[in-house]
Amino acid sequence: MIRKILLIFKRDLKVSVRNFITLYIIVVPIIFAVIINVFSPGINDTTVEIVLIEGENQQQGEFFQQFAKVEFLDSLDELEERIKRRDNIVGVIPDKKDDYFILTQGNEPDYVVDYVKNLVSFDHYNINLEDSQAEIVDYGRDIPPLKRLMVNVATIFTSVLGGMIIALNIVEEKTDNTISAIHLSPVSRLGFIAGKSLIGVFVPVVGTFLMLFITGFRDINYFHVFLMIGSSCVISIMVGFIEGINNDDVMNAAGNIKILFLPLFGSVAGAELLADKWQPFFYWIPFYWTYKGNNLVLSNSGTWLDIIKYSGIVLGISIIVFIVLAPKIRKGLE
């Protein structure tokens, strides 16, 4: 039995590698990881942004750079263009006398403008870090929350991709009419399903572990990670089967997969942005629980009980979905 399941898995792997999909889907998490690594240093900068005229006052520029993200542009026109963009960057520009004025877009929060005003006057009066009456204590947690969020979403995405491979494989088998042929072979239907599913676990697990390693999540509990990916794979696999079985052509599959991404991003946005009273609206979405569980795993603050709870809920939802759809899946494979 196990040997037959592995045979099907091996065959799928071979076919997928030949089509480069698996390769791509394994490469995608690495691309995600690299992108996340490239961006996250920039994400850290939650301080003030200032734009100055290049070479106008070098000492002032250096002073500001201690505290703020400073950009230098060549002309006043470029400066205005830059300020008009969506973020809260503020220009500091010399006026006719020896002083400076502040150029804003007009929609910045007051505190941003106040910060810059203060910095200009601190520079004028030479007030610096000496004589500060403040201390800073930190907990040594060097991974910013936004990076955690991106890795979390990328992880869920990767498990959905696993489901997509299954869907594509099944659609392919259908067009080649090999599904009916498999019934003549000694593989049982359950064995067939299990064999087909293996690739949907293998690819996300490998992809996610690579991604976590590259993005620097090395001190987390990898067994927790495995539990969370495993449970979210179950739901993706199920979706993969359903997509594969219900769609005779890629056209409809493309449309349906688009619908699938909506609850994914919706539950992340819901968990992050909405108040507590709205949360129950998302309870039915497995990705919501995966997201919350992953968050605990990635911040290394989840207990075993938490992880079992979250992966259990995901698994529970999957089982309910399976029970409802089992007859359909069975019929589809006939």
Partner: protein, 371 residues
């Protein structure tokens, strides 16, 4: 004439397909998300958690100054939860922040360590100086730390400095440009991805479907030419994009958007995207094989979004990615006094590029009929 006929036939056929309704449904869902889930402007009030470990007289002074800033000039005693424990806190809401004065060091630790929010412990040291201790997580940049430190410089509160800072004049560029609200500025993203870029994938899916069924080969023996077929497919997709884009835009933007420019831009950018899709498609036998390339294209096309939302990251190479231009154009289209010249130039560019790629694709399709 023949082109018109095959276009209307395609339109008629696709209006009966499941896919067409998914597109419409999706547009309505996106609209609902914008209207009911995305707030007009994100709540950007910062939250500050402070524990005042100072003599009562100093505390009273803090309270007074906070109450002056408070919206209703009164504070409330509320219960806050951290680390599964309930604490009492004084709550002040100013125009820009929510301030919680915590009642114990334990509460402060619960917030900073477990809930992972920045907190401040204010105390008096042996020399009778007021010391601010900031509890941070560890990922904050040195710049932010420096900023916190310099604001607590002994001299920073001198009247001389405050006067100087109050007298710095602030000029604002925005006399006649109304910036888009947070909700409105999401629209270009939806338009770019639901409209223009989806064309690329949908046309690929369409063509593979027809390839499987041998329709392209059949075209070779009809009186109509292959480019008629390709163009009518493109036309159908552009019509779908126009409808879905209008569904999303009209209820939110009303008359503010420049619909003429929008129509023009959807047609040209959709034509470009569809031609690109056709060209990519012509190299592969089925969608499974084309999947990888399409995937890489989608990842590249997503990158400009990051720059759209964080304008400080805007390298030159990202500006040549078509979705960057699409995002910018849609933004100009829906803004008051948007830069329509930019949109027109971009439209022209997409039209010319699209035409070139279309000719290439047509050439490939003619050659590879046997694929």
């Amino acid at each position: 004439m023949k082109l018109w006929y095959s276009f209307t036939k395609e339109l008629n056929l696709s209006s009966k397909s499941w896919y067409f309704y998914i597109e419409l449904g999706m547009a309505i869902v996106l609209l609902m998300v914008l209207l009911f889930v995305v707030p007009e402007d994100f709540d950007s009030k910062s939250e500050e958690y402070i524990y005042l470990d100072v003599p009562e007289i100093v505390k009273a002074r803090y309270r007074d100054s906070l109450e002056d800033e408070d919206l209703d000039e009164l504070y409330q005693i509320i219960e806050v939860e951290a680390d599964n424990k309930i604490f009492q806190a004084e709550f002040y809401e100013t125009e820009e922040s929510k301030i919680y004065i915590l009642d114990s060091m334990e509460a402060l630790n619960a917030f900073s360590s477990v809930e992972r929010v920045p907190t401040v412990h204010i105390r008096v040291n042996e020399d009778n100086q007021i010391i601010h201790t900031y509890y941070l997580q560890g990922y904050e940049t040195q710049k932010l730390k420096n900023l916190l430190l310099v604001f607590q410089n002994r001299k920073a509160g001198y009247d001389l400095i405050e006067d100087y800072s109050d007298n710095i004049s602030v000029k604002s560029l925005n006399q006649n440009i109304e910036p888009l609200s947070d909700r409105e500025s999401i629209i270009p993203v939806f338009l770019t991805f639901n409209g223009s870029l989806m064309s690329l994938f949908i046309i690929a899916a369409y063509i593979f479907l027809d390839k499987n069924e041998g329709i392209i080969k059949a075209y070779a023996v009809t009186a109509s030419s292959v480019w008629h077929y390709l163009l009518s497919k493109t036309g159908v997709i552009i019509v779908t994009s126009i409808v879905t884009s209008l569904i999303i835009t009209v209820p939110i933007m009303g008359l503010q958007a420049n619909y003429f420019a929008m129509l023009l831009f959807i047609i040209t950018s959709g034509f470009f995207a569809a031609s690109l899709g056709l060209y990519i498609t012509s190299f592969y036998k089925d969608i499974v094989q084309a999947f990888g390339v399409l995937y890489i294209v989608i990842v590249i096309m997503i990158m400009p979004n990051i720059s759209y939302f964080t304008p400080s990251w805007d390298p030159d190479w990202i500006k040549i990615i078509p979705s960057y231009v699409m995002l910018q154009s849609f933004k100009e289209i829906i803004s008051i006094n948007g830069n329509i010249t930019y949109v027109l130039v971009a439209s022209l560019g997409f039209a010319v590029l699209g035409l070139d790629i279309f000719i290439l694709a047509n050439h490939r399709f003619k050659k590879t009929l046997t694929l």
